[in-house]
């Protein structure tokens, strides 16, 4: 039996779930004070799902994807098509459809791209995401082009929410995504600590050795890729239901940039990093959106984080706790 290293708070599922639960508890108060910030928290919660999926690929498997907007786009457009052509408003079916379509696309794309690592993987993902974006854009008679597809309010368990007032509708959406996020974060924790997750880490640390002890590197990467894609597409499907509009913007490279940035902001090296990252990112974003040149801030912060605190916000907390306890001991 190998002795596992001591877990820190950054690698603790209880902390991750606790953060989401705390947000869910303080949400009604914040909504009463300022509905706008309530909406921001809603964004924060369902983006956790995509970020944590991205991080499975980035941190646990060692594949950096600059094209996760591809899967957010698949999720969102699945919802858009389901409503536009089939008239489906049931959010359960939306999620199921997104999971299936993203798994299919991820299988077809991953089949080729996970053969490559590092720069090749990163740019192939960027390129494929751009290809899909251009398809949404160019086939406007199907996708509505830049005008996008309008989506009606979703129904849940067969109950239509069409006649609800806006606030209650939004509350139901918020607690629904909170529930989904809690389940998926817990599931991800089980995934990264399963034999499969450990195999991924082994591949990340040393591919040759992993192959030597009998791990099928290609297959493991492909599975991780598909899981990551499904997580991102769920965020895409929820975003479509939240904005009630699907436009090519969600599949554009700047969305991929947000995924990468928010994960780094929280700290990619720890499990709870993306969870925190999602909330910090959306809080910063809603301040910075007033300043329209917000990509500059994002780019500068990426550069600063990489140079000064590669571990992101989590590392910042950790070092300040260590410094603090050292001061107290003295």
């Amino acid at each position: 039996m190998v002795k596992m290293p001591k877990r820190t708070f950054g690698d603790d599922i209880r902390v991750a779930l606790l953060i989401i639960i705390i947000i869910a508890v303080i949400y009604p108060i914040i909504y009463v004070v300022s509905p706008g910030w309530g909406v921001v928290l809603g964004h924060g919660i369902y983006w956790v799902i995509a970020l944590i999926g991205f991080n499975l690929l980035f941190s646990y498997t060692g594949l950096l994807s600059f094209g996760h907007a591809l899967f957010l786009g698949i999720g969102a457009y699945t919802v858009g098509f389901m409503y536009k052509y089939l008239g489906i408003t049931s959010i359960e079916l939306h999620l199921l459809g997104s999971i299936l379509s993203s798994a299919l696309v991820a299988f077809l794309v991953g089949f080729v791209v996970v053969k490559y690592t590092r720069i090749f993987f990163a740019i192939f993902m960027l390129a494929i995401a751009q290809i899909f974006w251009s398809l949404y854009y160019k086939f406007f008679w199907i996708t509505g082009g830049t005008d996008g597809i309008k989506v009606a309010r979703f129904s849940i368990f067969g109950i239509s929410l069409e006649n609800l007032d806006f606030a209650s509708y939004h509350h139901i959406f918020f607690y629904l995504v909170t529930g989904i996020a809690l389940v998926l974060v817990y599931l991800m924790w089980r995934i990264v600590n399963s034999p499969f997750g450990l195999a991924l880490k082994a591949i990340r640390d040393n591919e040759t050795r992993a192959r030597f002890i009998g791990i099928d590197v290609y297959k493991m990467r492909l599975y991780a890729f598909i899981i990551s894609a499904i997580y991102a597409s769920i965020t895409g499907a929820l975003a479509a239901n939240h904005h009630r509009l699907v436009t090519p913007d969600i599949a554009y490279w700047t969305t991929s940039g947000k995924v990468v940035f928010a994960t780094l902001l929280g700290g990619a090296k720890m499990f709870i990093g993306p969870v925190i990252g999602s909330f910090i990112f959306h809080i910063i974003e809603s301040f910075a959106m007033r300043f329209i040149y917000w990509q500059i801030i994002m780019g500068l912060l990426i550069v600063i984080i990489i140079i000064v605190v590669p571990g992101g916000f989590i590392q910042l907390i950790k070092t300040s706790i260590e410094q603090g306890s050292r001061l107290i001991r003295r």
Partner: protein
């Protein structure tokens, strides 16, 4: 039936596209060859060159030289663009020093951050409307081949790119600095041990690659327009060039630029919606069959 004239005009477009792609991809390759950094922000240098001419330089150049002798109006914009881009790359050179020798993800993320910054700086300075600087293009006029109109300016671009490729070859293979760059790309520690100032070689490499990208931008802009998001589109294209030709290969960037331009022209005629998808499918096929690229895997 495709007539002779159409073949001429198409191949002429292919050469024009290839010239532009070559000027971007070769810089990407030189930086990769020496520093092992894939500079995602490299196409932003090209876009900066375009913006510098369209948003600033062309007006100044027209004012200074007037429009009667054609030569200064053709020659000054690319040089002006290259100058601006070299200055910009000088400002971010410390980041390149920081990145060299760091892990892949550090390099990818840092240059990606730079790309974001560049794209938004363009929006901040020049707004989100497409910009043009077509005076040289118009002044150069056009000739007729059969019923097709051929702009003379594009011929000038092709000839300039060929000239730059020749100069580049001379610089890399016949001058001392070029030999140092090639040496550093093969074994940077050994080069340093032999007494070369490696930091200076790195500086020259980055400035030189930026110079080529800026030159390309200044050459391209009179015949087209520059808009936001162009850097990413070019990155996606330039990367195919590099993949097809082989990372870090000088000859590869020539071959790759030509093939990608050829593919673009063909797909734009046959399936305009699927242009990028088809180019990438070809790139993946080439990468599967010949992982070292068509440049023969040779470094230079």
């Amino acid at each position: 039936m495709i007539g002779v004239e159409e073949i001429i005009i198409r191949s002429y477009n292919i050469f024009f596209g290839a010239s532009i792609l070559f000027l971007i991809a070769v810089g990407l390759n030189i930086i990769y060859g020496v520093m092992k950094i894939v500079n995602l922000a490299h196409p932003a240098f090209f876009t900066l060159g375009c913006y510098a001419v369209a948003g600033l330089g062309m007006g100044v150049i027209i004012n200074v030289f007037g429009s009667s002798p054609l030569a200064p109006i053709l020659i000054a914009p690319p040089l002006f663009a290259a100058l601006i881009v070299v200055i910009a790359s000088l400002l971010i050179f410390p980041l390149f020093l920081f990145m060299s020798g760091k892990g892949d993800e550090v390099q990818l993320l840092l240059t990606y951050g730079l790309l974001l910054i560049f794209e938004d700086l363009f929006r901040l300075i020049w707004g989100s409307e497409p910009l043009r600087a077509s005076q040289p293009y118009e002044l150069a006029g056009s000739i007729y081949i059969g019923e097709y109109i051929v702009p003379v300016y594009n011929i000038y671009v092709i000839i300039s790119a060929l000239f730059v490729a020749l100069l580049l070859w001379f610089f890399l293979f016949k001058t001392k600095q070029g030999i140092l760059i090639r040496a550093a790309s093969m074994d940077i520690e050994m080069t340093s041990a032999l007494g070369a100032n490696v930091r200076r070689v790195l500086l020259i490499t980055v400035l030189f690659a930026a110079f080529l990208a800026g030159l390309g931008g200044g050459l391209y802009i009179p015949s087209g327009s520059v808009m936001l998001g162009m850097s990413v589109e070019l990155l996606v294209l330039a990367f195919v060039v590099v993949v097809i030709g082989g990372l870090g290969s000088f000859l590869g960037s020539l071959i790759g630029a030509f093939i990608v331009s050829l593919l673009r022209t063909i797909t734009l005629i046959l399936f305009p919606e699927l242009e990028l998808a088809l180019i990438y499918i070809v790139a993946i096929i080439i990468l599967t069959l010949k992982p070292e690229g068509l440049g023969g895997g040779k470094k230079w």
